[in-house]
């Protein structure tokens, strides 16, 4: 296993950890953080591949991921403030409006 393989495997591991965090944590803020971890894992795999093949697009893509992540955080924080104001809770388990 060379270093690039190792880094891609690391990206997979971090992604899994982020996903796990999304599932198991109750605090909505921490869930958001776990989403950030997942995004970072993706960025890591992009950069690894780009460096390995010495190609510009992979790195360029990371910038767009940053843009998307910034937007996402801005919106998510706004929504979270509203949620706390209305429901007085950040517990994901209490939001069950999707129940069929």
């Amino acid at each position: 296993m060379d270093r690039y393989q190792f880094l891609v495997a690391l990206a997979g591991l971090i992604f899994t950890l982020g996903l796990l965090g999304v599932v198991i944590r109750r605090n909505l803020l921490v869930v958001m953080m776990c989403l950030e971890i997942m995004l970072n894992a993706v960025v890591l795999s992009f950069v690894t591949t780009a460096v390995r093949t010495q190609s510009i697009p992979g790195v360029a893509m990371t910038f767009f991921i940053y843009v998307a992540a910034s937007c996402e955080v801005a919106l998510a924080m706004a929504i979270m403030v509203i949620l706390v104001r209305r429901r007085h809770s950040l517990d994901v388990g209490t939001f069950q409006d999707l129940k069929g």
Partner: protein, 167 residues
């Protein structure tokens, strides 16, 4: 030499990621996340992608995470979710996540090992100036689109907060 750094920062990144998902206090989780991101930035630097490393620190740690920390400070810390950290799905989720990680490990281990000949030339194309010129030559239009997306994000956040304050 860089191999040791990579191994070190990788281990650190995993540790901090685990801390993010286990810390009870959101503030501690946030700080762990900052540390995790700095570790990743260090990894990028080791790989020679200095541009990405710099922006990782500037944008993520400098902007996004600071924003998140402000939000944490705004909110009440006597929330129910502080007492019970993990949801009821924790155990099956850990099992499944273990399965996913194992599968990834196996699959990546099977990838063919290619000669790292290309990698020896690393360093040149990802310096700040050469990358910036290449980026702006090829992706200026996409970049402008991304700014529009940011604008929309700001408007949406503003509208959401305004709507929430009315209700």
């Amino acid at each position: 030499m860089s191999g040791i750094f990579i191994a070190f920062f990788s281990a650190l990144a995993v540790v901090f990621a685990i801390m993010v998902i286990t810390m009870r206090q959101p503030m501690r989780a946030a700080l762990s996340l900052v540390a995790h991101m700095v570790c990743l930035a260090a990894l990028y630097a080791c790989l020679g992608a200095h541009v990405v490393a710099v922006f990782q620190v500037l944008i993520y740690v400098g902007a996004v995470m600071v924003f998140m920390v402000y939000t944490i400070m705004l909110l009440d810390d006597r929330d129910m979710s502080y007492q019970w950290v993990f949801s009821r799905l924790a155990l099956p989720a850990v099992v499944v996540a273990g399965l996913v990680a194992a599968a990834l490990w196996v699959l990546i281990g099977r990838l063919p090992v290619t000669a790292p000949a290309i990698a020896t030339a690393a360093g040149d194309s990802f310096t700040f100036s050469s990358f910036s010129v290449a980026f702006m030559q090829h992706y200026w239009f996409h970049f402008e689109l991304a700014t529009v997306l940011l604008l929309i994000g700001i408007i949406a956040a503003w509208a959401a907060v305004k709507e929430g304050s009315n209700g």
